[in-house]
Amino acid sequence: MTEPIHSEAAIASYLLGELDEAERAEFEAGLAVDHALREEVEALRPLVARLQTLPPEAWDPPEPPPLRAPATEAATATAPPAAVGGRTERRGWLEPAPLALAGGLAALLLAAGVWIGTLIDDEARDGAAGAPAITLSPIDGGDGHGELTILEEGGRATLAVSGLPASRGDFYEVWLLGERGMVSLASFRVGAEGRATIELNLPVDPSRYGSFDVSREPDDGDPAHSSDSVLQGPVAAT
């Protein structure tokens, strides 16, 4: 080794285990008396250890999928159902925005593909006319019926449900289910009439999942599926 044993260059050699026995002993003798040197070595040591254990893929990270970037075009949407907030984390995006921002926010969120189910009017529903509908049937002889239609532009769908028990302290949640797991798509409530029509965004390709599912969810803050499915229909119909 040509550099002075306590030089800056020697720090790397020491940390990388590239000093011979005599050099290492000399360096460590210096560490014992040089507080600043010791401090620096100790600060760098965990980083060196981490770099030494980085898996090969960390040096060549896999190419991520293209981002479904938010579109800048305007979109119209109503505010999300007011009462479905209150659960934790995943549901945070369902909380109503401040009034002054609500209109633009909802538009941006829809444009971004964020999974808000929005109650829609007849005009919006008309946009789905002609597209193949997926029938969601009741589970285990329960009540209700659903028609889900993937809109022509893709990435969005409408769901019309009827005959469901009214929401009372709970709400309904729309999911994609399959062997690869599940994705929450939207939440909504129904009133005494038992019907609702919502528009929802599809952040993933539905064909990679098996079924659309509507579950009844207690407002308990648990983001997991309640295991209380009320309607289900196969994605394959798309």
């Binding site: 720090i11 980083l47 981490r50 990270p61 593909g113 289910l177 690869r180 599940m182 997991a224």
Partner: protein, 192 residues
Amino acid sequence: MRDHGPLVRRADTSEAARRKEERLGLALANRDPRALEEVYERYGRACFGFLVNLLRDREAAEDVQQQVFLEVWQRAPTYERERASLLTWIMTIARSRGIDHLRRRVPEPAGTLAGDERLPAADDTTDELVERWRVTALLEGLQPEEAMLLRMRFYDDLPQTEIAERTGIPLGTVKMRMVRALRRLRKLVDET
């Protein structure tokens, strides 16, 4: 020796990187879609690498990745720069969504869908993974020659003498640059 391309793209100084990240965070909070694209360009690879590592399922990781960045977009107005860097914030979201994915149960009535209940990864393992991939993202903040040296040493497993031979850089310079690269990366790890 492998190609050194992917990790030597950016060469911000620490201060410049900090200011740039501040501006980025602000633009994201102001709902600038270009900011989201830039955030994705900066941190999308590390986030995705983490998710692939955690879930061991590339397709699932692709879905969760979309969920993570949609959540980043939606929650951007509430992001507090003082509390965490963008990278740390994004990786925290990725960690949560990744664990959500591992924990999810297929509901009983949907038993025909053949879903299985998998145990979530242990927290310490997940945290270690997060930290690894955070460091991976930060490698891109190094000067190109620094990133190259670290890669040659820790990925190609070359001693400094061989790095000097292969690059034609004097051994003393290699050693100086090596320790400076480590210092800079350490600073990024501490500050980001």
